[in-house]
Subunit: 256 residues, 2 copies
DNA sequence: AAACAGCGTTTCATATAATGAAACGTTTTT
DNA sequence: AAAAACGTTTCATTATATGAAACGCTGTTT
């Protein structure tokens, strides 16, 4: 827990390490479980959880397990970074989802990863479901590849320097030169495809969103199972998504 | 900072007291400002802010002020309490807002207050704008009065015992007996009005959302300026909102 | 029915880590 | 040029977080 530790408050770090455990599938935690996971002493864990509960950051359910509490919901909704983007993306995403009937995502590049700012889920039973606020690898998602393709050359090279192109499926692009070629192609055709590069059976298409200085600021993607997502639909999908992108670009550049 | 303090971690409490300062209009804070506001020592404040920044809970902007960071956005989106309600309310709210063109809210009763879980803002320039995740007084909002009106008698009496009906405007109901009569009326007519009881110039109408045991679980409201919100529209509004309520009730009771 | 194992919780001596006044180096204002 | 305001660092002091052990409780196993 060290290295070049400045002068950080250890209790606060521990408290948030405990909260970090709730990022993932497991939503309910007991004291001993969390103590085991984090390596903190049972007593310490107990007292920290107790503290967090007393202020609504955690909440106990009927079986006395801890859940993330509404104080975090409150604080999370106050985060001003990208707030305007989130707001203006909402209705266009709904519209796209209504027309295409697949899950639509809206994301930006943050810390060299895709950060999902908003989504609208497909009304169909079989669908992609991502967590808003979560991060995903950029190099094997359509949305991430678009965001990189329209970034500056320095940024792309810096990305490749810092990121290992580890395979997620057999289709993942793992060679840097092939990847750079892919980005060039994306920039030229103005959209990206993810042909089961992140997950087998999952296909995505993404389009860039620009500000009025023509810099990329976000991207919209549509994701669906390969069983439904046919290449002959791409032209149709592109025109529907582009309408949404237009709407977002207009409202961002005019109203904010 | 005491009374019957159990055994809480003071640093963690302080950290969240600092974060609490961001609840409100002021989004950007400096070290000394926050130290002054909270009463904590400058050094302590500095170190806590530093700690929170190191893990993304806070973030510095270009002028070196602290903002709420994306870690809180991530955690806030993971809060599972009422998650299903939030999700299923989204599309019906959009639909209502499209038809009525006023701001639509979706809320529940939490700690004797209205907790706003979702909203869709009016497309018009002059509009109501509330913060999702924030709390509002129940006794002078349409949404709160509906939620109370369909609660059990014990709950209502407990509410009145704990809550002072302080006036917000000249129209606020401040007499307990008048208020109880109002709740009875609301229960009978199955909707509530807020005739400028919270804020002058602001009118709202709200309808209950029930689960399949016929218990109230939430409420939808439409809010608009008195200049646009005419009593002759109420019948029309009610039928539009009821469609949305139906949609929510169906999806909640079937899919979850 | 008794023993056991799991849980959250409390105790208390110990040591660690949080604390704050003062001083520092910058930047902004006067 | 001086002063004020800012974030930051120092260091001796002391308050507080710590963890092993014991506790009481609940549900399961013997």
């Amino acid at each position: 827990m060290n290295e070049d530790v400045k002068d950080l408050n250890l209790s606060v770090l521990k408290a948030f390490t405990l909260l970090e455990a709730f990022v993932g599938d497991k939503q309910k935690w007991g004291v001993r479980e969390l103590a085991k996971k984090t390596g903190y002493n049972k007593s310490t864990t107990y007292r920290l959880l107790n503290t967090l509960e007393s202020i609504g950051v955690l909440q106990k359910n009927d079986e006395d397990k801890y859940l993330l509490g509404l104080k975090l919901f409150e604080l999370g909704n106050l985060v001003s970074i990208h707030k305007s983007l989130r707001k203006h993306s909402r209705q266009p995403l709904e519209q796209i989802a209504r027309e295409i009937k697949e899950t639509v995502h809206f994301g930006v590049l943050d810390k060299n990863q895709v950060l999902y700012l908003n989504k609208t889920e497909s009304p169909q039973g079989l669908k992609v479901s991502t967590q808003i606020g979560s991060y995903q690898k950029a190099y094997c998602t359509a949305i991430g590849k678009v965001l990189l393709a329209f970034s500056s050359e320095e940024k792309i090279l810096e990305y490749l320097k810092k990121t290992a192109l580890d395979p997620c499926t057999v289709n993942t692009i793992t060679d840097q030169h092939v990847f750079l070629k892919e980005l060039q192609k994306i920039k030229k055709q103005e959209y990206a495809l993810d042909m089961e590069e992140l997950e087998l059976g999952l296909i995505c298409i993404a389009i860039p969103v620009f500000n009025n200085k023509n810099q990329i600021i976000a991207s919209i993607s549509v994701s669906g199972p390969s069983s439904r997502f046919k290449l002959e639909n791409i032209g149709n999908y592109l025109s529907i998504i582009k309408k949404g992108v237009q709407a977002i670009e207009n409202s961002i550049n005019n109203y904010n």
